[in-house]
């Protein structure tokens, strides 16, 4: 969120701009925006090349952005290629993570307990600092996923305080996806590749990258305030047309989709019932056994999935026996502990665990949050060491 929306009601003023309100910013002027955000008190987090992938980390300036880098993604495979002739900073599809670790920390201290001199226990909340972070280059699928994480962590009867703190500090600079990967299918789920007002979580600024620079528009008051200080000019008709053509090409590049059976066939699956009911109805399908022959039950899919929110708790007592720290960390429906209850592991076998993952994500999520839990980012396909593709598995189950 930002300076202007005070109380952490997420983005009531965001994502409101009309399409067509965009102005043009030279590519080199992006650094001006980054510097303004930094002097506005934000830590910048943005995409960079590290260890053979594009990851979101603290950004010093625009020179660290992945200029000229392209990705190649396939089931179980990710590679980067460098093109020195390309001036583009965002000519790649998402890497393994983006927003999730910033709001739902991979591991965090929730509270501490101390035994005082009299033997009484005292409990103390340990909330994150509420640091303000401007994230550069957020994709449409990640905004859709953020809206789902918000629904889970904030919109239930017990809002999560740590998530709320982190979430409130975010300023989101979104960018339209111009180069979806072979694994992407956000067009089919209706979540991308364009960033649109009123879809997914609200954003502050939106970029569309062209050969010469960016079309920029504001989606919030805070975004508009920054935009007003940038050396931008009105966009030309040709620039708007180029952006539109690029967006259409990005849709056309996508080949994967999830099955949408019944009356909703062909419709983007979160607008319709999608697979709601379809996988629970196939609880005993022999294909669960088939996928379990390949699945490693490693949980990589759930760790990279931007909507997965399962966590486990761990108590770490100190040596003296007078204090204990209570941690929460990412868990996965692929672990034994996830279904351990009262002396038994309910989902002991991989076929049960994969079934839980796919059924929750694509089917029962609808009943829980009003849409599918999949935003079509393709991460679980790319980062599965066994190359398991959920669209193919869903197709095999619901042909």
């Amino acid at each position: 969120m930002n300076d202007d929306t005070t109380q952490g009601k997420r983005g009531e003023d965001k994502g409101a701009a009309e399409d067509g309100a965009a102005v043009f910013l030279e590519r080199d002027a992006l650094q001006t925006l980054l510097a303004l955000l930094q002097s506005g008190g934000y830590r910048l987090v943005g995409p960079q090349v590290r260890d053979g992938a594009i990851v979101y980390e603290t950004l010093g300036g625009a020179e660290q952005l992945p200029r000229g880098w392209h990705d190649e993604q396939a089931p179980g495979r990710y590679r980067l290629h460098y093109d020195p002739a390309s001036p583009r900073l965002f000519a790649w599809a998402n890497g393994p993570q983006a927003l999730k670790p910033l709001v739902f920390a991979p591991r965090e201290l929730l509270w501490e307990a101390h035994r005082d001199e009299t033997g009484n226990l005292r409990f103390q909340d340990c909330l994150p600092s509420g640091e303000r972070i401007a994230v550069i280059g957020v994709r449409a699928c990640d905004l859709a996923a953020l809206a789902l994480q918000d629904a889970h962590f904030l919109e239930g009867p017990f809002p999560d305080a740590a998530y709320h703190r982190r979430r409130t500090g975010l300023f989101l600079v979104a960018v339209d996806c111009s180069h979806p990967a072979e694994t992407c299918f956000c067009a089919a789920t209706g979540d991308g590749p364009r960033v649109e007002a009123g879809k997914g979580a609200a954003w502050d600024l939106r970029l569309q990258e062209l050969e010469a620079g960016f079309l920029v528009e504001a989606g919030s008051r805070a975004g508009a305030a920054y935009l007003a200080r940038l050396p931008a000019r009105a966009a030309t008709e040709a620039e708007r047309a180029a952006a539109l053509a690029q967006a259409q090409a990005a849709v056309a590049r996508q080949t994967r989709r999830l099955p949408a059976p019944g009356p909703s066939a062909g419709a983007p699956c979160h607008d319709a019932a999608g697979l709601a009911g379809a996988l629970t109805a196939r609880h005993d399908h022999p294909h669960w056994h088939d996928v379990a022959q390949r699945c490693l039950a490693c949980g990589n899919c759930t760790a990279v999935c931007p909507t997965c929110f399962c966590a486990g708790d761990e108590e770490v007592p100190d040596l003296a026996g007078t204090a204990s720290r209570h941690y929460r960390q990412w868990d996965s429906c692929f672990t034994a502990a996830h279904s351990y209850i009262h002396g038994i592991v309910i989902r002991a076998e991989t076929r049960h665990r994969y079934r839980q993952w796919l059924t929750h994500k694509l089917d029962t999520w609808h009943a829980q949050y009003g849409r599918s839990g999949c935003v079509g980012c393709g991460r679980c396909i790319t980062w599965c060491p066994a190359g398991i593709d959920l669209t193919a598995e869903a197709e095999a189950l619901v042909p």
């Binding site: 590290r50 260890d51 053979g52 992938a53 990851v55 179980g76 495979r77 990710y78 590679r79 890497g95 393994p96 993570q97 670790p101 991979p106 591991r107 035994r115 009299t118 033997g119 009484n120 226990l121 379990a292 022959q293 390949r294 699945c295 490693l296 039950a297 490693c298 949980g299 990589n300 760790a303 990279v304 761990e314 770490v316 007592p317 100190d318 040596l319 003296a320 026996g321 960390q329 990412w330 868990d331 996965s332 692929f334 672990t335 034994a336 502990a337 002991a348 076998e349 991989t350 790319t382 980062w383 599965c384 060491p385 066994a386």
Partner: protein
């Protein structure tokens, strides 16, 4: 007001060494300040590397480093078991054979004869075995070397009167929590992470290396599919076998996976 719980009697702890490199004891020693704190709460009655020597003392917890590779060790581990309330194996050697168990796949006598001037002075067993093949083991700590954090966690749990927490998830989850980039997917490295138990903090992948599997098998492993993944990355069946028959080769799941690697990948 809650009464303060009665002070528990101090636990007596011993650290024993069998066939090993001493690295796990070093991991223990490297706890530094925490080791001093620990010494406030327990009596370290036998820990030769740290000072106190009393190998036959009766103790509450015996940590055992190393595997069984000589006739003398077979006899000694029995004595230790009888003198200990809890016996905890410390690291890959004690728990799953360690690197010296590679001789189980070779002719150990031939090695002896080719390496030593007077092989008849060496008394060793034909095979190297984990502690649990000889005596009952109450808790296992994996890793080459063990993690000091896990050693402390086991002791703190026992001090509190609860069973230590099993960490048996696949390494991948810790790797992802640490925001490491998957070396298998992004670089085609033959990583053992998807079948290996967590505990090390994904040390190797965080430094761009494939996991060696030194923490042994995780729960519910699919070694057959994993072997096929390794073969898909270009490893010959023999190289797949060698990944499994390495530091924790005597763990049943890895022993079997190595033995069936040829069939699994073809």
């Amino acid at each position: 007001m809650n009464p303060r719980p009665p002070a528990a009697p101090r636990l007596r702890v011993a650290v024993h060494k069998f066939t090993s490199c001493d690295g796990c004891q070093l991991a223990f020693l490297n706890l530094g300040e925490q080791l001093l704190e620990l010494a406030e709460r327990v009596d370290l009655v036998h820990f030769a590397e740290a000072g106190p020597v009393d190998p036959d003392a009766a103790v509450d917890i015996a940590f055992v480093e190393g595997s069984i590779s000589t006739p003398e060790e077979v006899e000694r581990i029995g004595r230790i078991r009888r003198a200990s309330r809890y016996l905890i194996t410390l690291g890959a050697c004690a728990t799953a054979g360690g690197i010296q168990a590679l001789r189980n796949f070779a002719d150990g006598d031939a090695w002896l004869r080719s390496l030593y001037a007077r092989p008849e002075t060496i008394r060793s067993l034909a095979t190297v075995t984990p502690i649990a093949r000889h005596v009952k083991v109450d808790w296992e700590l994996w890793g080459c070397p063990v993690s000091g954090r896990q050693v402390l966690a086991a002791i703190t749990s026992l001090l509190a009167g609860v069973t230590p927490r099993a960490e048996e998830d696949k390494l991948c989850l810790a790797c992802k929590r640490g925001q490491a980039v998957c070396v298998m997917v992004a670089r085609g490295e033959p990583c053992m992470g998807p079948v290996t138990r967590t505990g090390c903090g994904a040390l190797c992948p965080r430094f761009g290396r494939a996991c060696y599997g030194c923490y042994g098998p995780a729960e519910n492993v699919n070694t057959r599919s994993h072997s096929r993944c390794l073969a898909g990355l270009g490893l010959a069946p023999e190289a797949v076998r060698a990944r499994y028959h390495f530091i924790t080769s005597q763990a049943p799941a890895f022993l079997a996976a190595g033995n069936s690697a040829q069939d699994d990948v073809t």
